[in-house]
């Protein structure tokens, strides 16, 4: 790339980032208790974010953001109202956990017995990788000098077909 073109490209990227950072700064910060209420756009975004994590008590596999039921709509209105009053998303979630229990969260909190849900899959994947690595190494290990090809462990217990 010629120096002038490179400079133009760099300038473009710098302006883009500066513009994005500026737009981000203009959004009201999510309300702390007693902090100014969020802007309309931010309020909708926060409402959507919190509602997407709360389970609909009627259609239980769906969030109150996605559920078409009347109760979900009413719960969503409670979320919006509390956020508009300056409560934080965590405080709003706390209100629903207080009323419905941990079950109201679509994703269980990673603590206590619930940790298993998050840890076990990774443990299983890691174990699987280790087993595969160990097996492949065993299968591809160089044979002792003079040993026939049929002495190679295949891992399947079957004999290999060799001429």
């Amino acid at each position: 790339m010629r120096p002038a073109a490179l400079q133009r490209a760099l300038l473009t990227w710098v302006l883009l980032f500066a513009g994005a950072a500026g737009a981000g700064a203009q959004n009201a910060t999510p309300g702390r208790s007693g902090a100014p209420a969020p802007s309309e756009v931010e309020l909708e975004r926060l409402t959507s974010e919190v509602a997407s994590g709360l389970r609909c008590p009627v259609c239980q596999g769906v969030s109150i953001e996605d559920s078409p039921t009347e109760l979900a709509r009413q719960m969503r209105a409670v979320v919006r109202e509390q956020l508009a009053a300056g409560r934080t998303p965590d405080q709003v979630r706390g209100y629903f956990i207080d009323k419905y229990g941990e079950w109201i969260l679509l994703r269980p909190r990673a603590s206590g017995f619930n940790l298993l849900v998050y840890v076990l899959p990774w443990l299983a994947i890691l174990t699987g990788i280790l087993v595969i690595v160990a097996s492949v190494r065993r299968w591809t290990r160089p044979l002792p000098a003079g040993a026939p090809e049929s002495a190679r462990p295949t891992g399947s217990g079957h004999r290999t077909l060799t001429s």
């Binding site: 008590p57 009347e70 009413q74 719960m75 409670v78 009323k99 419905y100 229990g101 079950w103 174990t127």
Partner: protein
């Protein structure tokens, strides 16, 4: 098959099977309620007049301290609510004059439908309350109807009945709490 492999396989699969077996003993539909034992959420709800002569009045839960309060959530579109209507009315009548108050909170329903339903069911011996936007229902952690909360004279939720309330259970719960009433 070597014993070593068998042992490793068992060591891996048995705990997993144990965890799954434990999971099978739990009922995913039995959602535990956070309410029993805690202060009943406050409310001020307006009664729904059952005829033109009745004047709506405001019911404030805090003013009912000292009474056993039976708070039943119901709707005209709720099939199971039909089963408990007669027992609720009968028990409410049986405890008239004693420190026991019954209320039927209308849940996600129009007053017209609710009134028609009560009329079709032969009337109701206690007041129906209107809950705008289900705020009180959400405050009580309601996830369906019918649900009945029995609030003690101390203002705490003492029991939550999920599904149609029966006369024996209502009487047993109320009788157990009456000694505390003032």
């Amino acid at each position: 098959m070597s014993w070593r492999r068998a042992l490793i396989a068992a060591a891996v699969t048995l705990p997993l099977l144990g965890l799954l077996a434990f999971g099978m003993t739990r009922n995913p539909n039995a959602i535990p309620s956070t309410m029993p034992g805690r202060e009943a959420p406050a409310f001020e709800l307006v009664t729904m007049p059952l005829d033109e002569r009745e004047v709506p009045e405001t019911v404030d839960l805090s003013a009912l301290r000292g009474n056993v309060v039976v708070l039943n959530f119901w709707a005209s579109w709720c099939v199971a609510c039909r089963d408990e209507h007669e027992p609720l009315s009968r028990v409410a009548r049986a405890y008239e004059g004693r420190p026991v108050r019954f209320f039927g909170v209308v849940y996600n329903d129009s007053p017209e439908n609710a009134r028609e339903w009560i009329e079709a069911m032969g009337g109701q011996s206690y007041s129906a309350l209107i809950d705008p936007d289900s705020r009180t229902a959400i405050d009580y952690g309601l996830y369906g109807v019918p649900e009945t909360f029995i609030i003690g004279p101390d203002g705490r939720v003492r029991h939550k009945i999920i599904g149609p309330a029966t006369e024996p259970e209502l009487r047993a719960r109320i009788d157990a709490l009456l000694p505390e009433a003032t």
